[in-house]
């Protein structure tokens, strides 16, 4: 689940490229978007986020030409968007909006089939594709013959996504897709999108005003300031670690460290060897290790696995450390555990350390609060 953090390719490779794009609405005092250049790498989720008036939706709508730029160039998959008729361009780009905009007079099935029908697919192909999509977005096939007004908000959202994906467009534009649903459904839909993206590897541009949503969903986040000025464009962890300026810092909020906790994984942090000994060492050797780490317990290892820990006082009179009763660590971390969960484990741990193991339960190291703090730098 690690975010790809490939550097921006200097040339080509971008699925969407905006070059010096400006948009000035007639009669507006200020440009909605002023000289924006942005590359969206193929297969990534790029989130445009910013306060209202930052032109994020305008940027999105310029990609599928619902809004025409005043100046500059936009390329989609290497092609200037102006070189094809707008409707043709749009049929190649999935589009999901906050209001969803399902057609009230058509069944769910007909809604999903909109673009394939426009493209003249034959009936059978459309039917098969609809069945596939319904499964993909997790809809009950029984809903296909229903009308949009008969669906819940969450179901409508899924239909909206299925409809946008119908003709398998390589690019998906999403304009505040989750703003209208309640927080619980929103969190679930966000998780579903991430799961979907792991299967589909679309290029997704998502607009939101919710910085947490941006951090959660984006491989890369573009923070826009009022007037469509790009304040910073970076992977979320980088934004949180090093905001480019005060605006970005303020926009990310006061709990940057906490947000970063849920973003950085244990695997990305240097762990320590920790006070660990093999089971067949003597209590004296163990005591030396404990002294070195300044603790009154020691971890016991057997064949590459960590069995548990033994307290200093329980070692009295034993021949080997393994003879003392070992107590289990209350939780083991995996490399993909977030620092947030790791911290939670640490706080609840009597030993004030968290144990890190791999998928085969092999001991990898230990984490203390110090390592977590280090990882946030």
């Amino acid at each position: 689940m690690h975010r790809r953090e490939a550097p921006l390719r200097p040339n080509g490779g971008a699925a969407i490229r905006l070059a010096h794009v400006r948009k000035h609405y007639p009669g507006a005092a200020q440009a909605a978007v002023g000289d924006l250049s942005l590359d969206v790498p193929e297969g990534e989720v790029v989130v445009l986020v910013g306060p209202s008036g930052c032109g994020k939706t305008t940027v999105l709508k310029m990609v599928n030409r619902l809004v025409e730029p005043t100046a500059g160039e936009i390329h989609v998959l290497g092609e200037d968007v102006r070189s094809v008729a707008a409707p043709v361009l749009r049929r190649r780009i999935g589009y999901v909006i906050q209001q969803i905009g399902l057609f009230p007079h058509r069944t769910v099935e007909a809604n999903v089939a909109t673009v394939p029908r426009l493209l003249g697919w034959d009936r059978r192909r459309i039917r098969d594709r609809v069945a596939e999509l319904v499964e993909l977005v997790g809809l009950d096939p029984a809903l296909l013959q229903r009308y949009p007004s008969e669906l819940s908000g969450g179901q409508q959202q899924r239909v909206g996504v299925a409809r946008a994906l119908a003709a398998d467009p390589p690019i998906l534009l999403m304009d505040e897709p989750y703003s209208a649903v309640d927080p619980i459904v929103r969190a679930r839909l966000q998780d579903e999108l991430l799961a979907l993206q792991r299967r589909l590897h679309k290029t997704i541009v998502l607009v939101t005003h919710d910085v947490d949503e941006a951090i959660k969903l984006g491989d890369r986040v573009a923070i826009l300031n009022v007037g469509g000025v790009l304040a910073q464009y970076a992977p979320p962890a980088e934004l949180l670690r090093a905001p480019a300026d005060d605006f970005v810092a303020a926009f990310l909020g006061s709990e940057r460290g906490l947000k970063l906790l849920s973003l950085v994984t244990v695997g990305q942090v240097a762990s320590i060897e920790g006070p660990v000994v093999d089971g067949d060492v003597t209590p004296g050797e163990a005591a030396a290790v404990m002294r070195r780490f300044g603790v009154d317990w020691v971890g016991v290892r057997a064949g590459g696995r960590l069995v548990g820990w033994v307290a200093d006082r329980d070692l009295d009179g034993r021949r080997r450390v393994a003879d003392a009763p070992a107590q289990p660590f209350n939780a083991a971390l995996r490399p993909d555990t977030t620092l947030r969960e790791a911290l939670d484990v640490l706080i609840n741990s009597r030993t004030r350390v968290a144990v890190l193991v791999d998928d085969d339960h092999r001991y990898l190291g230990m984490l203390t609060v110090d390592q977590i703090a280090e990882g946030l730098r």
Binding site: P87, R90, R91, I97, Q98, H105, A164
Partner: protein
Amino acid sequence: MTIAHDVVEWFTDPEQWEGTFGIPHRTFEHVQISAVSLLAAFALAVPVGVTLGHLRRGGGTAAVIANIGRAVPSFGVLVLMIQFFGIGAGPTFVALVLLAVPPMLTNAYVGVAGVPDGVRDAARGMGLTPWQVLWRVELPVASPVLMAGVRTAAVTVVATASLAAVVAWGGLGRFVVDGIAQRDEAQTFGGAILIAALAMVTELFLAGIQRLVVPAPLRSRTGSVRRAARAAQPELRPADQAPGRDRGQGP
């Protein structure tokens, strides 16, 4: 019960059923002028209303037209047209068209302009051409409101066409007007029954058309009643939905 007897006699008199003054011809006149006026008004009003609605321009004008349509007495319009065009089918036709235009124009406007932004944006964003957006999305979604306008206009037209007898034209109103003038109650009552029957048939006919035209999920059952009255709140509301309308000019 003599009146009932007289009415039956009036209806069964063979003379009633033949010639220019007979029931069939009067009915034909009535239906013909109503149909032609409605079609003409439809051709005039709906394209304008739909275009304005599509562009979302001229909402104020549409509201003014709707209000004028409601405030101006149809009887007065009919008489006024005679001042302009003399007596006959011509002025009646013009008056009927003038009266049918406001509800159709307003409802076409309100119906199309009322298509939710999200639905329009989604349609465009998916690559429907402007024509496709109009024909496949805006018109079907607007159709219940549009049809309600047509039905309102039809009620007005059928009713006003019967008033045309007052201004010396034919149609079924002839029997009522002459009946009142001649104190012939059987003729008055018989003519009234015929007009009422024609109005009912028109209602049923248009209800049938509405069923054909309006997509199933947008068809109104009792819900229409609620929606209709909700629409009666803002200044610019559609001339309303089945089963009845609120643009009381009709009868």
